[in-house]
């Protein structure tokens, strides 16, 4: 199991790193020094790398600008050094805020929000596992009463993790589900209650009202609980993710982001723009389909992966030539 599960992000990250550090070091050196000095073409290429990682145009330009200043400041013309500087800039942005999940001391409520199809329900399953590993008493609330099959899906995750799932019927009032779940959690002395919610962007007003009601219920019925509101984002999403964060940020006090589906080729660079503009930290990342594939976010590895692959493609190009 553990062998298999590690073929995700970190494994590939490590592979990428070992490639870049060992065998290919010489080649990168020659390639990068091929640029001789840091010229416009070099910056253009950096720009391309950042944009194809979904950072978005604005933040890419900002980064490149800051980088130019830094380069002047440090007075370097070594492209290697420049990459390190860029990485630092990225890590700096991503290190905003508190990246720990605030669930101590119990009880705690974790509300999971996001649009359709980003992997909310799956993330909840993995979160439950994550907390169970830490020997916590977990309970799930099936607050997505809207999407067909959502409740059953959560139920399956509950069974896999052997944690109770509080559910009502499809189409029932989600706030009522949460209400029941809170009282059930109190009665059973549950430490962490994780709540699923329906994903919707389309009808903003309904979404707002529904979520708003859920938050009011939580505040009123469970004032003593620590609250985490996690926005789940799909790494394959482009610039629209920023919009998603803003819309949900209007309704809810978002405390963190979970970035899912990082095991594909998408890099999820849009979180930079979100963290920068909203100050919401990325707390967890989803790197695969197994229960274990939800891990705490590490800005340094993320930045490395963002820029890391570029080495490989450049090398690949170099070899082709």
């Amino acid at each position: 199991m553990s062998e298999q599960t590690k073929t995700g992000f970190f494994q590939r990250l490590k592979q990428g790193l070992s490639k870049t550090t060992k065998e290919f070091t010489d080649k990168i050196d020659t390639l990068i020094s091929g640029y001789g000095k840091i010229d416009e073409a070099f910056y253009d290429e950096l720009e391309e790398i950042l944009i194809t990682a979904d950072l978005g145009f604005d933040i890419t330009m900002e980064l490149i600008e800051s980088l130019r200043e830094k380069v002047k400041e440090v007075k370097t013309d070594d492209p290697h050094q420049v990459k390190v500087l860029l990485k630092e800039l990225i890590i700096n942005i991503l290190s905003t805020g508190n990246r720990e999940l605030q669930v101590e001391p119990p009880p705690a409520v974790v509300l999971v929000v996001g649009v359709n199809g980003v992997g909310k329900t799956t993330t909840i399953g993995k979160l439950a596992h994550y907390f169970k590993q830490q020997h916590k008493e977990v309970m799930l609330a099936a607050g997505d009463t809207f999407r067909a099959g959502a409740i059953d899906q959560l139920e399956v995750w509950g069974q896999r993790n052997q944690v109770p799932v509080i559910r009502h019927q499809e189409g029932s009032d989600p706030a009522a589900v949460i209400f029941d779940a809170i009282h059930s959690a109190k009665a059973r002395n549950c430490e962490i209650l994780i709540c699923d919610t329906a994903g919707r962007l389309h009808n903003k007003k309904n979404l707002m009202n529904e979520l708003g009601k859920i938050f009011r219920v939580v505040d009123r019925e469970y004032p003593e609980a620590r609250k985490e509101v996690l926005l789940v984002l799909d790494a394959t999403t482009g610039q629209n993710a920023l919009q998603q964060a803003k819309v949900f940020g209007e309704v809810a006090q978002l405390t963190g982001i979970v970035l899912t589906k990082l095991d594909g080729t998408a890099k999820g660079g849009i979180v930079l723009a979100i963290t920068k503009s909203m100050g919401t930290p990325v707390k967890m990342i989803g790197v695969g389909e197994q229960l274990e594939d939800l891990q705490p976010f590490d800005p340094s590895s993320f930045a490395e992966a963002l820029l890391g692959d570029t080495n490989e493609t450049r090398i690949a190009d170099d070899i082709k030539i």
Binding site: Q153, E170, L201, K205, G264, A266
Partner: protein, 448 residues
Amino acid sequence: MIFEGLSEKLQNTLSKLKSKGKLTEKDVKEAMREVKLALLEADVNFKVVKDFIKRVSDRAVGDEVMESLTPGQHVIKIVNEELTALMGSSQSKLTFSSKPPTIYMMVGLQGSGKTTTCGKLAKHLKKQQKSPLLVACDIYRPAAIQQLKTVGGQVDVPVFSMGDGTSPVHISKAAVEHANRQGLDTVIIDTAGRLHIDELLMEELQQIKAAVKPQEILLVVDSMTGQDAVNVAEQFHEQIGIDGVILTKLDGDTRGGAALSVRAVTQKPIKFAGIGEKIDEFEPFHPDRMASRILGMGDMLSLIEKAQSNIDLKKAQELEKKMRTQQFTFDDFLDQLQQMKNMGPLSQVLQMIPGMGGKQLKNLEVDDRELVHIEAIIQSMTREERSNPGLINGSRRKRIAIGSGTSIQQVNKLLKQFEQTRKMMKQFMDMEKGMKKGGRFKMPFPGM
């Protein structure tokens, strides 16, 4: 609106061009920078953008400005033509196999909306007098089968499933036999969504393909996908070979640049677009119209088509006549409201009207529930008041407010809105006249 941001930006840039009169190389370069930015913001893939910009620049700088056009119009013409070329010029329909059942296989990433799309496609086929069968081949995601069953129930289409213990290849074969026995003429296979770099999944899809020989393999793509859309499309196309694309979640604030990217790498047509989460929010994709939509030309054709399927044609003709002669009354307004309700969310309908793509719409928050109040207010008016709103003075307003259970402010607001609507319709009609006279490129920028 789908390309709202993009059209707005393009309009800004291109109107800058127009004010300069003559088109120089520097102008083109500057304009192209804005075009590039706008496309990137809309999540069009970097390489696709680069190619596009290069093509347009090459043509724009090298091209002689046609005598009948201003330089600005000329650039718009080129951008429009190249965008159209990129999106494909004509609408691509679903094909049917000569020997039923016709099999459609739906593939795509997790969370792209495959299962929902299966239901929407089934409903679409049903409308065309077909009898579809939905097949649950996603045996991996918890409750995926249940979801398809629910969706099938919503559209009243049978769902074939064998639980999650049978191999999808076996299920799909059995499903086709089942369809044959039951005399069902179309089969829609919902496959498991995983990552495009998942070799096992790709193999499974290849096996299903070999087993049932689908008429079409349709790739379902989330229109919010970013730069990675290119990789996804490339992988699926290379490994399984796709025949068409269905874009999902083209509602809300999605700019949908992925549409351009996917089209550019696969050269396969986008056949449908899912434009909302309701089961009938699904429509054929018109690439040519999309290109003019990008340029802020609106999407009148889509609107008309949409209206046709939902609106009483005779009433619509009457209405049009009234709009022309400006005899539009509250009765018509009410009538229209009721018909619009059948067409789906109002905001969506409004987006399709030319000239409403840009800023105007942003200030116009449309809430469907407000319609209930509006209806009540109109219904509290006398017949005379409805046909001659000028009559409505202070005491009449008060009476209407009380009668409809609203406030005088709300009544005032509606009267004001009605006046605006009338004006807008007048403009709209004038615009159309202008278009007939002056050719299509005059429309978005009347000052040119």
